[in-house]
């Protein structure tokens, strides 16, 4: 056998470093033992136990709902902010707006979480809302920091869009608002989708901010996982993690597949064009 080259070895080492922990995790999710680190034979019992655990299932459902609403709201706010940053001419405080919109990207989560908690507590004292913290407060908190990510993604796309597209629409008789919805939005739709997915993932993933602003009623999945791990790792968490990895890989694969297919379609159309 030929001796593998240095680059190949490094590649394999790198990939192992990244993916070996996950492989171990997936492997041990099929362990029949109660102890996570001791192999005692193949079994799917932790998957069954996972689906019997009402607390985890509730947390999954809560997390998904919060992520969905936060991402949607963040896309609305982030797009508005991006549009103002890119499309409006110079105005007073433009630099201040741009830096403040993107500040949450670099702000430590602990600070964001703590400041939001203080805000909610004071608001409850002053105007009586939010009476108790829960899904609504997590939703607001997540929207706050996800909007920043969406604004960055959308504004970079918006900067690339040829300004004359919007001018052409107005020239043909479409007022500015109509132009925005009929021309600008469809053109930047891919960036909106990317921003939404990014916000969804970030919200699903967040532990720190959610722990600060959540109340007794709303426990997100990362909070459940984190607290149960502190009491001792249950193999159920391995099973849950395996399912999450499976979902994510499947989604990524589908996205790649559809993108490749549309690209191929486009190329065929172009070739037919050149021949015909």
């Amino acid at each position: 056998m030929r001796k593998p080259s240095f680059t190949t070895v490094m590649l394999i080492l790198g990939l192992l470093f990244l993916y070996l922990p996950m492989l171990v995790l997936v492997f041990y999710s099929f362990n029949s033992s109660r102890l996570v680190t001791v192999w005692a034979g193949f079994s799917g019992r932790w998957y069954i136990e996972l689906f019997r655990d009402q607390q985890i299932l509730n947390a999954v459902w809560t997390s998904l709902r919060i992520a969905f609403f936060s991402a949607s709201m963040a896309v609305c706010l982030g797009t508005l902010a991006a549009f103002v940053m890119v499309r409006f001419g110079r105005f007073r405080g433009k630099t201040a707006l741009s830096s403040m919109v993107t500040a949450p990207l670099v702000m430590p989560e602990v600070i964001t979480g703590l400041s939001l908690l203080l805000l909610f507590v004071h608001m409850a004292q002053l105007i009586g809302w939010p009476a108790d913290r829960g899904m609504a407060t997590i939703w607001i908190a997540h929207t706050t920091f996800c909007s920043a990510y969406v604004a960055v993604v959308v504004s970079s796309r918006l900067r690339e869009v040829d300004l004359s597209l919007e001018e052409a629409a107005m020239d043909l008789g479409a007022p500015p608002v109509k132009t925005f919805f009929q021309i600008t939005l469809p053109v930047i739709a891919p960036a909106l989708a990317a921003g939404w997915l990014l916000a969804f993932t970030l919200s699903l993933d967040d532990l720190v901010i959610a722990s600060f602003v959540s109340g007794p009623g709303a426990t997100t999945l990362p909070m459940v996982v984190f607290s149960s791990v502190r009491l001792g790792v249950s193999p159920k968490i391995n099973a849950l993690a395996t399912l999450i990895i499976l979902t994510v890989s499947l989604a990524t694969f589908l996205a790649w597949y559809f993108m490749r297919r549309s690209e191929a379609k486009r190329r065929i159309a172009m070739r037919m064009q050149q021949e015909g």
């Binding site: 004359s164 001018e167 107005m170 739709a189 486009r266 064009q273």
Partner: protein
């Protein structure tokens, strides 16, 4: 295509039928048969400033109904800013823009009866060709059947009937331009603006499309203002050309006017190439004038007087390369010639350009049409004489 103004304004219609008017317009150029004397647009002393930098400086223009008018200038000459003000994307700082007698300087672009074809074509990428053309008509809330009819008519006009269902990215450059043209004509605007219409095409396609676009515009009968930096394009397509520089309009006239009678040295150098000789007027009479030019080493005689003020004697004499002649024998007379050697020859197929270094060290361009194959011609380093007819030269100032 009907033009609403001629129907609603009978007084101008009658005036237009006067034979004297017809005669007037027939002298302006070859394409003038459709150009009417009636004014469509008037630009009155328009200026535009961007952060203290003056982009357009006190420009006044009158556009006649039915003509193709070109704004020709280098980059930064303010031609695009002027066009964007006509479209409504920029507001003039001073002055007025009148379309059919109404001041539209403050009207937003979506309420102007003016449509524009963009340099990048700006076709909406998420819509098909037909949807692109229908976009403007939908904004006017026309009935569906009429929109369909008008789209079909426009596709036929630009010979793109088979492409209605295509997306813009499936089209070639020339096809995209046709669609963009159809889209900007679909609303039957009273004025069409073209921003560097051939800018995105390669040279061969450009010449083809120039003629085709003119043909379409004439068939539709729309008035058109185009912006270009390509003088060949302006002269091919336009009835009248305005030369812009530093926000000013330097000269307005037919292509023949600006080429043969340039207003000053800048126009002469910008439109085509020219040989310039600095000189001083020594004699100026009604039927001829004589200019002393140390650069030529000889006096220059011109067959008409130029009535100069006594204190402005310094002028430039311009001779186009194709009006400069080349001979091996010394020309007769004491005027309008110089001896020199051939320094370089550029063979361009249809014509050859000779670069002749005169004895005074001045480089003179002479272009000769290659009317015969491989005939006897002066070669490199040959001793030659350049000369020109006294009717060929033009006197210019800075």
């Amino acid at each position: 295509m009907t033009q609403p103004m001629t129907l609603t304004n009978p007084s101008t219609d009658i005036r237009h039928q006067l034979p004297a008017e017809q005669e007037m317009s027939s002298t302006t150029g070859k394409k003038s048969s459709r150009v009417q004397k009636e004014t469509l647009m008037e630009i009155r002393r328009v200026s535009k400033r961007f952060d203290e930098a003056l982009a357009v400086d006190d420009v006044s223009l009158t556009i006649r109904r039915g003509e193709i008018f070109a704004l020709l200038g280098g980059s930064g000459s303010g031609k695009s800013t002027l066009l964007r003000m006509l479209a409504g994307f920029e507001k003039p700082c001073e002055g007025q823009i009148l379309l059919e007698g109404k001041d539209i300087s403050r009207t937003p672009p979506y309420e102007r009866a003016i449509n524009m074809m963009f340099q990048s074509y700006a076709l909406f990428p998420h819509m098909t060709v037909a949807e692109n053309i229908a976009f403007g008509l939908k904004q006017d809330k026309l009935p569906k059947a009429e929109i369909r009819e008008r789209v079909a008519e426009m596709l036929k006009l630009v010979h793109m009937e088979g492409f209605a269902k295509r997306k813009p990215h499936q089209l070639s450059g020339g096809q995209r331009q046709r669609v963009a043209l159809a889209r900007s004509l679909a609303k039957r605007p009273s004025l069409l603006l073209l921003d560097e219409p051939m800018g995105a095409l390669d040279k061969k396609l450009r010449t083809e499309m120039q003629l085709e676009v003119v043909e379409i515009l004439e068939r539709v009968g729309v008035t058109c203002i185009m912006v270009t930096h390509d003088q060949e394009e302006a002269m091919t397509m336009a009835d009248r050309v305005a030369i812009m520089s530093d926000g000013w309009i330097v000269q307005v006239g037919s292509p023949v006017d600006v080429y043969e009678s340039p207003a000053n040295r800048m126009v002469a150098e910008f439109v085509g190439t020219v040989n310039l000789f600095a000189g001083e007027i020594v004699m100026d009479e009604a039927d001829c004038c004589v200019i002393d030019s140390p650069e030529l080493g000889r006096r220059i005689r011109i067959d008409h007087g130029i009535s100069t003020p006594a204190d402005e004697r310094g002028v430039w004499v311009a001779v186009r390369p194709e009006k400069t002649l080349l001979s091996l024998e010394q020309p007769k007379g004491d005027f309008n010639w110089a001896a020199g050697t051939v320094e370089d020859i550029a063979y361009l197929g249809g014509l050859s350009v000779y670069y002749v270094r005169t004895e005074q060290g001045h480089l003179v361009k002479v272009s000769l049409a290659n009317t015969t194959r491989r005939s006897e011609r002066p070669g490199w380093d040959d001793e030659v004489y350049i000369h020109w007819d006294e009717r060929s030269a033009v006197v210019l100032r800075d």
